[in-house]
């Protein structure tokens, strides 16, 4: 059939080159495409909210985490499923076993076919899930993202765990309380260009300009690159370079665990305050042995609970996802929909010896 593979491959190359040449002039580029009208959002503008509408009974909602068997998301989804029982709905968790970009898409299709009332998704890829989510919305299914947002054009609400400002400022407050608002402090961050951490550090610096922190001084921002070993060594370096250091804030779960481990096994134990963002499972032993008094993160149970109530409120017509709308989420009280359909859970949740055993993630 092919007498010469060389002839065949060069034919393939020629086809490529010819089509390159043909398409060289004109064609669809990013610029020309962006001038076209964007895909119309599925939402109809006519919907109006009725804040007094009761939550409908018998709602069917589904949680679609990044992947199943992720301990953090399992806690979150379970709290959401329990919340659904409170408002007499049924909820379930379905999802892929791998957290790849596209694996959630077939689950969205399944949920559309099952005619769920709402889909709650922690998106692996903000864009890859967009088409199917909008397909769901065009069939009247409400879409709420939580933990990890989908593109804002393809969901009705995003339940955000905490605002960046709250995270940054509360870290400083927490540390200041533990060192009587006095002394040198340092930050142990992730990588130098980590978006989350850098935003939080900016708010920390801003918080430190307030008069009540006039006796506190940020001497260094170190970067442990979210690598356990490097974070450990950076902690060691900080303590040697700044003998008067009173506290370290590590706004990363890898950093705080490494810093606590170093301090726990050193002569600085009890003299240096370590705090930041951590998970209870990582930090439990350091809280118990007195290295760390308290640290923060958000409460995943509350996040799942809020997401569940937000979805039910959308389906029942109490809110539409427009900015400024208010709704009550059971025992958590009232929440307001912010810009771009974001609902913020609240200030970070503080873990200490009294509650660290209540969580497993």
């Amino acid at each position: 059939m092919f007498t010469s593979s060389r002839r065949f491959t060069s034919a393939v190359a020629m086809v490529g080159l010819v089509s390159l040449g043909l398409s060289g002039c004109g064609g669809t580029t990013k610029e020309s495409a962006s001038s076209q009208a964007p895909a119309a959002p599925a939402q109809t503008a006519a919907a109006t909210a009725n804040p007094n509408a009761p939550i409908k009974e018998g709602l069917q909602i589904a949680f679609l985490p990044k992947q199943i068997n992720n301990p953090y998301l399992t806690i979150l989804d379970k709290a959401g499923i329990d919340a659904a029982a409170e408002y007499k709905g049924t909820a379930k968790e379905v999802g892929p076993s791998d957290a790849s970009a596209s694996s959630q898409v077939s689950y969205i299709n399944t949920l559309i076919q099952q005619q769920q009332d709402a889909i709650l998704i922690s998106a692996n890829d903000a864009n890859a899930v967009c088409g199917p989510l909008n397909q769901a919305r065009s069939k009247g299914i409400k879409v709420v993202s939580y933990d990890s947002d989908a593109s804002k054009d393809c969901r009705d609400l995003f339940i955000n765990q905490a605002s960046s400002e709250d995270v940054g400022r509360s870290e400083v407050k927490m540390l200041a309380d533990m060192i009587d608002h006095k002394g040198e402090i340092a930050v142990l961050s992730a990588t130098a260009n980590a978006t989350n951490q850098n935003t939080w550090i900016e708010f920390m610096k801003d918080e430190l300009t307030k008069p009540e922190y006039k006796d506190m001084k940020l001497v260094k921002v170190a970067y442990g690159d979210d690598d356990d070993q490097k974070s450990f060594q950076e902690t060691q370096g900080l303590l040697q370079a700044y003998p008067n250091l009173k506290g370290i804030i590590a706004p990363t779960t890898v950093g705080i665990a490494a810093a606590a481990r170093y301090v726990s096994g050193s002569k600085y134990k009890g003299k240096i305050v370590v705090t930041g963002l951590g998970t209870p499972n990582q930090m439990r032993e350091f809280v118990k042995n007195g290295t760390v008094e308290k640290f923060a993160l958000w409460n995943p149970k509350d996040l799942g609970y809020l997401a569940s109530y937000a979805a039910a409120s959308l389906v029942s017509g109490r809110i539409t996802g427009a900015e400024g709308e208010k709704f009550t989420a059971g025992k958590l009280g009232e929440f307001t929909v912010g810009k771009d359909g974001e609902v913020i859970l609240g200030p970070p949740f503080t873990f200490d010896a009294s509650n660290v055993d209540d969580f497993d993630f």
């Binding site: 390159l20 990013k30 610029e31 076993s97 790849s100 898409v105 077939s106 399944t110 099952q114 864009n127």
Partner: protein, 349 residues
């Protein structure tokens, strides 16, 4: 019958026994997979109202598009006793290139042929390493699996590029009007017919079976073994890169990790379709039935809220059975022959 022609030409040990009763002809694994597919479909349609509607079928078929396309090229390779494990990485590299070039302002009409040529070049590298250096394709393509995925990450890093032109996205997600068949699946159907004819009704196809069954005999029979294998690897790379374009547009997201692990889904389908990994045996119809069976079964299990773990167990069992059964049948036939050496082919049931 194209299939019979192919079988007659191939020096195939089991099928060379020409005295087979008509019934045993249907007791072939690929036919069995087809029957199983019909059963799953009928069972699904009867048991789950969500299953056999146009929306779901369109989605389930569309979800198989890339796997099905790559499986065509993979079938040709496996029949010739070779394998290409780098296909998913070529898909990822293609996706990363599409994203990078689109983001850099290139026209999509330029990008698509370019990445397909890059894919063919990836296949050419595989093919040259296998045929010129005489290396086993398993080893070569495990290496290029890592290499091409690495290149994809060099090209795009951890960025995700989105917002591709809607007209092209529609081509990958919309159905052929009046059917629940998305365009990529329609393209697959056309290519499947061409591949089936090439494999089962041409000299090229017979050459593949001959190479797979006995490479030295094929060589002495005048078949240009190395050239044909090289062409197969180039086709495999080319198809994988094209599948990468489809994948990128269908999900609307170009990422370096797109399609990770997809090669296993492709090989699973080829295996389930009854293609012998020792080469020289298999039908394209079996592979197509295998692709559809895995996809529709998974879809059906998902619709019934069967957990991901159980889904894996079910597909895994199916694959193990597909490997064991033909072997057991062969052993059973052998045993029957032993007691009566005078009659080499006893009448089978």
């Amino acid at each position: 019958m194209a299939r019979d022609m192919a079988r007659d030409m191939a020096p195939d040990v089991t099928t060379a026994n020409s005295a087979r009763a008509p019934l045993s002809r249907f007791l072939r694994w690929d036919v069995l997979v087809g029957v199983l597919l019909v059963l799953v479909f009928a069972g699904g349609a009867a048991g789950s109202p969500e299953f056999a509607n146009a929306g779901n079928l369109s989605f389930a078929l569309g979800d198989l598009g890339e796997i099905a396309l790559i499986a065509l090229a993979m079938t040709l390779l496996v029949v010739a006793a070779e394998v290409d494990l780098s296909v998913a990485s070529v898909l990822g590299l293609s996706s990363a290139l599409v994203g990078h070039l689109w983001d850099a302002g290139w026209a999509i009409e330029t990008i698509i042929p370019l990445v397909v040529v890059v894919g063919a070049a990836c296949g050419l590298v595989n093919g040259l390493l296998v045929t010129r250096l005489g290396l086993p394709s398993l080893a070569v393509t495990i290496g290029t699996l890592a290499l091409y995925r690495g290149l994809a990450q060099v090209v795009l890093g951890d960025r995700a590029i989105a917002e591709f032109p809607q007209s092209y996205v529609n081509l990958t997600v919309n159905d052929v009007p009046g059917t629940p068949i998305p365009y990529p699946v329609a393209l697959f159907a056309v290519l499947a017919v061409i591949t089936a004819v090439a494999l089962h009704a041409t000299g090229f196809g017979r050459a593949l079976f001959a190479i797979g069954a006995q490479v030295e005999a094929a060589h002495f029979a005048g078949i240009r073994v190395k050239r044909i294998k090289l062409v197969l690897f180039v086709i495999s790379g080319l198809v994988a890169a094209f599948a990468g374009v489809v994948y990128t547009l269908r999900y609307g997201s170009a990422r370096a990790d797109n399609g990770s692990g997809l090669e296993l889904a492709v090989i699973a389908a080829v295996l389930l379709g009854g293609v012998d990994f020792d080469g020289g045996k298999g039908t394209l119809g079996g592979v197509i039935a295998g692709v559809l069976l895995i996809g529709l079964l998974r879809n059906l299990l998902m619709l019934n809220d069967v957990s991901t773990e159980i889904q894996s167990v079910v597909t895994g069992l199916l694959l193990v059975i597909s490997v064991i059964t033909p072997r057991l049948v062969a052993v059973a036939r052998q045993r029957r022959r032993v007691p009566s050496p005078v009659m080499p082919t006893p009448p089978t049931t």
